[in-house]
Amino acid sequence: MSPRRSKGFGLLRWYPPRWQERYGDEFDALMEDTLGERPPTPRLRLAVALAGLRERGRESGIVGDSTPPADRARVGSLLVLCAWAAFVVAGSSFAKLSEGFGLTGPTRTASLSSGAYRTVTVVAIVACLVVMFGMAIAVPSFLRFLRAGGWPQIRRHVVRALIASVIGISALTALVGLAHTLSPAQRAGELVSHPAVWYYQVAFIATTLLLAVALGLWTVAAVATVRRLDLTGRVLSTEAVLAAAATVAMVVMTAATAVWWGSIASSTPWFVQGTPAGSAGSPVNVQLVGTMVLMLVASILAGYGVSRGAQSGLTFRSGRRA
């Protein structure tokens, strides 16, 4: 550590590099004058960390009005994309939890839960199409970016995501092979004392985490790429509309999942627990609670992203570079 940064106590790392370059020395001097020889208190560390993160948020356009309106609109759509990635993880968890519902589930005749389940399914398909369309309209800009020699700028992100995907898909393939050696009841977590079932449960959790990491890294790669693209005003405004549509879809799916849960919990709680039909069981399932929380967080994040885009106040004109 340089003696000129003797009192920074590593707190500057919370700030974005450009800010550190501009204010780092004087900020260190202030810390030095304020603290003397004392180390910073936990409260001061927390306050500086929050201020640094806020500065990062401002610089990236997530909060504040320091960045141009077009950048804020772009960041708003990217926040929705990140929320969508989190929602996909929650949706996968819901799909696993509701496995068998509508086929052999005990509430096949319950119209409310069936309707909620169908709503989640249909809206998920529509939302996937919306997100894919959003990606498709950015392809021409992406190709221009690659032709202009942009690949080295995103290579690290893409390679990392590819490696994670290969590992995740390999793990999934192995998991499917293992699943074929088990009965449906064993795959559902029953007879957990059996070693193969235990291995399957561990492998299932590990594979889920690997796939979630791969999805996260692809999202990071997409964000890193889109931030570098030269998007026209028309593309940005279309992305903002699609982001709003995807957000509405997430909110609808979250509400439908809550209705499905409530309906199932009141009529057939054993289905939520995965216990035999007719047995007593709590309607609360930890995985379902986690799924709902993730859906809610993703919906809120997406809502913020849409409001960020709306706050940018831009009236995009066709063909204008943003």
Binding site: W19, D28, A29, T34, A47, A51, E55, S66
Partner: protein, 112 residues
């Protein structure tokens, strides 16, 4: 209140940007001197994060400007735009303070 929503982002009397501008109105100061002065006249202890967050915003908006220095302790001065913005905020605060004082009967004979 519309008058409180100023383009400079200044709102309240204890807003760090308002306190910094008020301090700099008396002359250029660096970070630590600013923090001490603000604590003296307003009783508000601004931490390094809050102080430099506000300094960053004020400099971006052209309300303060850094001065040359050989030291790491860079002083800042208030700009003409900063003085105008501060004058507007002070006027706003004085108007509200006057109304409050008259309604509390602190100004004899005055009616709001």
């Amino acid at each position: 209140m519309a008058r409180n929503r100023q383009p400079t982002g200044l709102r309240r009397s204890n807003d760090p940007p308002v306190l910094i501008l008020t301090s700099l109105a008396a002359g250029p100061k660096h970070g630590h001197a600013l923090a001490k002065d603000i604590e003296d006249f307003a009783g508000v202890a601004l931490g390094p994060g809050a102080l430099y967050g506000a300094i960053t915003r004020l400099e971006e908006r052209g309300l303060i400007a850094p001065l040359e220095t050989d030291d790491r302790r860079r002083p800042y001065r208030i700009t003409a735009a900063g003085s105008a913005a501060l004058a507007e905020v002070v006027d706003d605060m004085r108007r509200i303070a006057d109304i409050g004082a008259s309604r509390l009967g602190l100004i004899p004979g005055a009616l709001a």
